[in-house]
C-alpha cells in the first residue's frame, strides 16, 4: 500500500507542485491548508509523514508541531518543516520542538524528495 503524506501548506501552487512530485514518486498525498484544524486532520488520517509549513492561517506550524509532540499518538511521527525564514532562531525553535527535518524555501524538488524518502525509510 502506498505511504501517506499529509502536506500542511496554504499556497495553492506550492501544494500542486509538491503533490505532483510526491504522487509521481508513489505517495498518496493529502493536503490541508488551515492551521486551526490541522491537528484533527493528522489524528484522523493518520499519515506516515507530515510536511508542515510554518506560516499558516489561524495557527503557526510551530504550535502544531508542539501539540503533535505532546500527543502520544503523533509524538513519533516524522515531520518535515518548511519555512520562508531561514533564521537561526526559527531553526533552533523547530529543533527544540522535535522536528525531524527542517528546510528553507525556496527548496528544490530533489531536496524534498530526498528528505521524504529518507524520513519514511528511517
Amino acid at each position: 500500500m502506498a505511504k501517506r503524506v499529509l502536506l500542511i501548506e496554504d499556497e495553492p501552487n506550492i501544494i500542486e507542485a509538491i503533490s505532483f512530485i510526491l504522487s509521481r514518486d508513489g505517495w498518496t498525498v493529502h493536503t490541508q491548508s488551515d492551521g486551526v484544524t490541522a491537528l484533527d486532520r493528522v489524528r484522523a488520517l493518520p499519515p506516515d509523514l507530515v510536511i508542515l509549513d510554518v506560516m499558516l492561517p489561524g495557527k503557526s506550524g510551530f504550535d502544531i508541531l508542539r501539540e503533535m509532540r505532546a500527543d502520544a499518538t503523533t509524538a513519533a511521527m516524522p515531520v518535515l518543516m518548511l519555512t520562508a525564514r531561514g533564521q537561526e532562531r526559527d531553526r533552533d525553535l523547530a529543533l527544540k520542538l522535535g522536528v525531524t527535518r527542517f528546510m528553507t524555501k525556496p527548496f528544490s524538488n530533489a531536496e524534498v524528495l530526498e528528505a521524504v524518502r529518507t524520513m519514511a525509510g528511517g
Binding site: I14, E16, A17, F20, R85, K105, N109
Partner: protein
Amino acid sequence: MAQRQLTGSRLRARRLDMGLRQADLAARAGISASYLNLIEHNRRRIGGRLLRVLAEALQADPSAFTDEAEAALMTRLRAAAAARGDTVELERVEDFAGRFPGWAGLVAAQDARLSALERQLRAARDRMAHDPALAASLHDVISAATAIRSTASILVGGEEIDADWQRRFHGNIHQDSQRLADASRALAGYLDAPADGGGVPMAPVEEVEAFLAAQGHHHPDLEFPDAPPQAAAALVAAASPPLGRAAADLALVHLDRYREDAQALPLAEFTAAAVAAGHDPAILAARFGADLDRVLRRLAALPDDPVHPPRGLAVCDGAGAILMLKPMAGFSLPRGAAACPLWPLYQALSLPGQPLRRTVALPGETAPRLECYALAVPRVPAGFNRAAPLVATMLVMPATDPADTADPVGPGCRFCPRTTCIARREPSAMATTDSASGL
C-alpha cells in the same frame, strides 16, 4: 569654531595687563618660568591649587580663567577615546585640545555624530528584524519563488507529463510570476521610502529634544496670559523639520505642561522674583505657592539672558529613562547608555516627595561644580492602594560657592576615571588619569 580663549591664554593676557614678567609670576607661584610658559601657551593643562595660586597672584578669581566649554570638551574627548580608541595618547588629551582646539572640537563632534548614527543603525536593524510589513512582503516574494522553482523544475525534469498537467503548470507559473513581480515591486518600494518619511529614523524622544533645543527651550507663544491650548498645537505643527507622529504627540504633552507652567508662573513676575531670590527654587516655590517641580521646570525655561545663570534640566521616569533633557556646559546625561547613578536626579527617585539640593563635581580638576535641585513626584495623583509612577525633575546651575564641598558624580562608568567609586557598575574603558582629584 569661535575663538574662545583657553585658560592659558587668559592667564597670559591678565599677566601682561598687570605688567608682570613671566619669571616673576612663576616665582610667586612656586613653579619654573618655562613651566608657566607652557601653561600660558596652553601646552599644559592647569586647574585646582596651582590655578588658585596663580589667580591670587594675578588678583583675580580663579573662575575668571577657566572655561566650562573647555572642560566639557575634555570630557567629550575622553569619552571619544574610551569608546573607540585603543591607541590614543590619553595623557596628552589636554595638550591636544590646547594646541588644536578646532581639531579637538571636530573629534568630539564626530564622536557625537558616530554615537547618534550607531543608535539610529540599531533602530534600523531592529526595524528590519521586527517590522511585520517587511516580513509579510518578503514572505510573498519567497512563496512565489518557491512555487515557480518547484513547478518549473517539474516541467524541465525530462519525465513525461500529460498535456493537462503541462497546461496547468504553465498557468501556475504565469500566475506566480505575476505575484512575484507585484511582491518584488512592493518590496523595492518599501525599501526605497521608509514609512516615516525618509532619512535615517530618529527616536521620537530625540526628535523632540532637537525641536526643543532649536527653540532654546523657551516658547514666547505660550507665555501670553491666557495663551490657548491651540498655541501649543500650532508650535508643534510649525516644527521644522516636521516631527513624526509619535514625536509630535510627545512634543504636545511637553508644550501643554509648559503652557500650564507659564500660566501659573507668569514670565515678567517670575523673572523679577527669580533674580531677587538668586534663583533659589525653594524661595520661589514659597513666594508663588507653586509646586517645586513646576518651579524647577520654569527656571529652566527662562530665556537666555545675562540676568540668569546658565540652567540645565533633566526629567526622568522611575526606570531612569530620560524623558527630557536640556544640557548645559558641564551637564549632560547619556541617552541610550547608562548614566552615573550618583546624580541627584536618580537619588530623588528613592526619596519621593523629598526635595534634594546637592553641589556636585564631575571628575577632573577644572570640571565645573554644579548646584543640583532634584525632586521626584508621582506622575498622576496616587489612588488608594495603587502606586503612581514617579517622575524625577532636576534643575542644574553653576555652583555659586566654589568652596562648598561637592559630591562626586561622573559621566557614566565607561568614561569615568573614578576607579574606586562605590557606585561603579563596570570597569572604566579609560586609562586612569593621574590628575583626577577628589576621587
